[in-house]
């Protein structure tokens, strides 16, 4: 009995330790999420009243029948796939380059150059990119012109707007994925490579069969992080395109935010819930695929 009491008081202090963390998580995490899901089942006009009118799945049905939302969702998914691929390919390529024996001198400089944008406030970075792409101010078109190359449509053309923000976002995010690959590369088992080398494996075979399988943890983590990151793409749209031109960059986060701004709370929160479900579904799938095969 005394023992039980003793362990109780030993436990009690941990409740004290966790209390502020739990309070902030509940107040600014769980509560707003629950509130948001609740609002998604109410009529927008009554959503903020103490006794809102519940409308069942009406908002979800309206959202899924909204052609702008469906177009926005498919563009968001397309953008996410392209961005995840581009970012991870760039990050992995550059990490391999930096990890190789080829770049002994200046290694830190290259690392810092690619990573600096990660800690640069995204608003500042994207503001600069917005103007870099500009037709009359921008350095990009001025440089293309100087080299005698055709002009780049940048943010104002429907063909290049998505590519432009993909470039700006890659600049901001790729350094993060790169250091995760580098961390993984630095803890790999180099004895395996020597063994493969002795067995007569070519450089290409060594990379494909020996090194790449060992990078599975970083690949899985980066894929999940990048998926979550790009499905939520928002800041770059606010700063650079406001969803345009012609809705080309009107991704789900931004569209939902616009609806919220127009007091269409029910539909906005229904979209948030749908996006949340997609984020969780895709992340869990990526983890599962990553864990299925041996190598970790």
């Amino acid at each position: 009995m005394m023992d039980a009491l003793g362990s109780l008081s030993r436990d009690r202090i941990f409740y004290l330790f966790v209390a502020p963390f739990a309070a902030l998580t509940i107040l600014f995490g769980v509560w707003p999420i629950v509130l948001s899901i609740q609002v998604s089942f109410t009529a927008s006009a009554t959503a903020l009243r103490p006794n809102p009118t519940y409308v069942g799945f009406a908002n979800y049905i309206a959202v899924l029948a909204d052609p702008i939302f469906l177009a926005s969702l498919s563009r968001t998914l397309l953008y996410t796939v392209l961005s995840v691929f581009a970012n991870l390919a760039f990050a992995l390529g550059f990490a391999i380059l930096l990890d190789s024996t080829l770049l002994k001198r200046g290694n830190l400089f290259f690392r810092l150059a690619i990573f600096l944008p990660v800690i640069t406030p995204d608003v500042a970075g994207y503001v600069v990119w917005r103007w870099l792409f500009d037709r009359s101010f921008g350095a990009i078109n001025a440089a293309l012109k100087m080299l005698g190359l055709p002009a780049f449509g940048g943010l104002s053309s429907v063909d290049t707007a998505m590519l432009s923000i993909l470039i700006a976002e890659l600049w901001h995010h790729a350094g993060f994925y790169m250091i995760i690959f580098l961390a993984n590369l630095s803890i790999r088992d180099r004895a395996l490579e020597e063994a493969a080398h002795i067995d007569g494996a070519t450089t290409w075979q060594r990379w494909w069969y020996v090194i790449l399988p060992q990078l599975r943890p970083a690949l899985v983590i980066n894929t999940v992080y990048a998926l979550i990151q790009f499905l939520k793409t928002f800041t770059v749209v606010v700063v650079m395109t406001k969803g345009g031109p012609n809705d080309q960059t009107n991704f789900v986060s931004y569209y939902a935010y616009q609806l919220f701004d127009q007091a269409r709370y029910g539909e906005a929160t229904a979209m948030a819930t749908i996006l949340f479900a997609i984020v969780i579904g895709l992340s869990l799938t990526a983890y599962r695929i990553g864990d299925r095969e041996p190598g970790k």
Binding site: A22, V127, W171, I179, L275
Partner: protein, 281 residues
């Protein structure tokens, strides 16, 4: 083995060319921003590629002395105060929370706290901020510094870094202290905290860098530009019609410079910490 020690010359030249070119392309936006901050808008329009300013003139920083009816210095002080206070609060709250969750993973309710936190960080951040507006309204925190600071305190990377660190503390160390008759408070303050100093410094540094960049929650929780920080001021200046291009670049420089300098001073700790926080156990 020989080709590993002395790599192919041609391959090395190509590798350097690629690395240098990419690095310069990544750094060019900074250079362009810096140069443009010192050039009149009209000069930039006629020669956007000029690699340095015509004259070194700091007048633009007094021209943007007031933005949106608020002094530039107010935004700067807000940035510093909000970032510093939310960092201090976040480090303390997250360290204690992660410590408790690691030491007593099965205590009733603790799993729920963990899951609540994990779900929160999965939720699309921008869409979380909107209902947070309603919560702030209900709590009477709308437009207050307290609301902004409380909201910015928690973050995933910070939690994972602490969790990972506390998990690595060998059980024997804690057990020995228990046998010596130490209370949990004593174990925390005399055994765990001294060990946790380096990780605390890392988390504080990373939190500062991340919170300095925050803009959306600050814009949403604020009721007027009086509580805006530099990135929020920059965004509203950028959205104005007939933008003052040179002024925007000057403000972008002010927003970027402090964190860029801090990062370069502590780059090893930041990069290692961020990689470790992402690769959680």
């Amino acid at each position: 083995m020989n080709d590993d020690i002395r790599p192919n010359r041609l391959l090395q030249v190509v590798a350097y060319a690629v690395a240098i070119l990419t690095s310069l392309l990544f750094l060019y936006p900074y250079w362009w921003m810096l140069v443009s901050a010192f050039r009149p808008t009209r000069a930039i329009m006629s020669a956007p590629l000029r690699p340095w300013p015509e004259t070194l003139n700091f007048q633009i920083f007094s021209e943007i002395g007031r933005i949106g009816g608020v002094n530039l210095s107010t935004y700067a002080v807000n940035s510093l105060a909000i970032t510093t206070l939310s960092t201090i609060l976040g480090v303390i709250v997250t360290a204690l929370g992660a410590y408790a969750l690691v030491r007593r993973p099965k205590a009733p309710g603790f799993t729920l706290v963990r899951y609540g936190f994990l779900i929160t960080i999965m939720y699309p951040y921008m869409l979380l901020v909107i209902p947070v507006y309603l919560v702030m309204f209900k709590l009477g925190l709308l437009g207050s510094y307290a609301g902004i600071i409380l909201f910015l305190a928690l973050g995933p990377l910070q939690f994972f870094l602490f969790e990972q660190f506390f998990r690595k503390i060998p059980n024997e160390v804690i057990e020995a202290a228990v046998i010596d008759g130490a209370s949990e408070w004593q174990i925390l303050t005399r055994v765990v905290l001294p060990m946790a100093m380096p990780i605390t410094a890392t988390v504080a540094l990373i939190t500062f860098l991340l919170n300095w960049a925050q803009w959306f929650p600050i814009m949403v929780i604020s009721r007027s530009p009086d509580t805006y920080t530099l990135p929020v001021a920059l965004l509203s200046m950028n959205s104005e019609l007939g933008s003052n291009f040179q002024g925007i670049m000057a403000l972008a420089v002010l927003t970027t410079l402090p964190v860029a300098a801090l990062f370069l001073l502590a780059q090893k700790r930041v990069m290692e910490g961020m990689a470790a926080g992402a690769v959680k156990g």
